[in-house]
Subunit: 159 residues, 2 copies
């Protein structure tokens, strides 16, 4: 292969030279692009992290402001606080959902699912199919693909 | 320039050919690296976003669990709820601080700072230097570089 152009005209040589110059330029450009992209990626990652944190903090801030309102109200009329705090509690679940981790935990009677449930206790299966969730002790947040915390459940013995 | 190698030996030609092959290979490699980096950047951004959201959701979840405890306690002993909710409130500020937005708002008597304060009302300067914060209506979160929300303040008239 290295001999196939030995009889070539001088023009070929100048074509090769300009091809070398062109390729050197292409290569240099690609390497510069790569370097710039690497630097930009580092900057962008910092920015994305910051954006996401800010977005989440805003969700928490809404919960917190409502908690302040409930506390303020309670100082004027102590009986209102339980209802107020329960409203804040419901709203905190909405914030969790906005962050991509919806609450779940009404799974009583469903089959135990290791992707969604964590068995904190096992009881004899009386009147239910073995392996059924008989009680949800603490709700879970997220879904099977994206778990924040599984629901803590009591399960009917499997045999 | 294009003529400077017209008298070159055939060996020069084969050197140029192998240089072309080498540069084509370098260029191709750089382009492939660039393409891979672009794809990886997209994937990484999704992942960074998700990680950050999860981290923030865990902070919120801690607040939420404590809110549940306070509500549970209040059902047993209604008088405990105000103290319980106030403890949750303090802990929510800690969560905000963990997200990079510490609470501030004890700025009464400090000079008004447009980076940290939002003036919600202006009052005559009686016994204080004009432009002084005379009351903090609502605390702020963050700092001068990274603001989530400025503190809402009442300011003494500047003249």
């Amino acid at each position: 292969m290295e001999n196939q152009q030995q009889d070539a005209e001088p023009e070929d040589n100048s074509w090769l030279q300009s091809r070398v110059a062109e390729l050197e330029n292409n290569w240099r450009t690609a390497m510069a692009d790569l370097d710039n992209l690497r630097k930009r990626t580092v900057r962008d990652t910092v920015q994305v992290r910051q954006q996401e944190r800010k977005r989440a903090a805003k969700e928490l801030l809404t919960v917190l402001d409502n908690l302040d309102l409930a506390i303020g109200h309670a100082e004027a009329d102590p009986k209102t606080i339980v209802a107020g705090v329960e409203a804040v509690r419901a709203q905190a679940d909405l914030a969790m959902s906005n962050l991509g981790f919806p609450r779940y935990g009404d799974d009583q009677g469903e089959p135990f699912d290791p992707q969604l449930h964590e068995a904190v206790s096992v009881v004899p299966a009386v009147g239910v199919k073995p392996g059924t969730v008989v009680q949800v002790v603490r709700p879970g947040y997220g879904d099977a693909e994206n778990q924040l915390r599984p629901a803590a459940v009591v399960v009917a013995k499997a045999d």
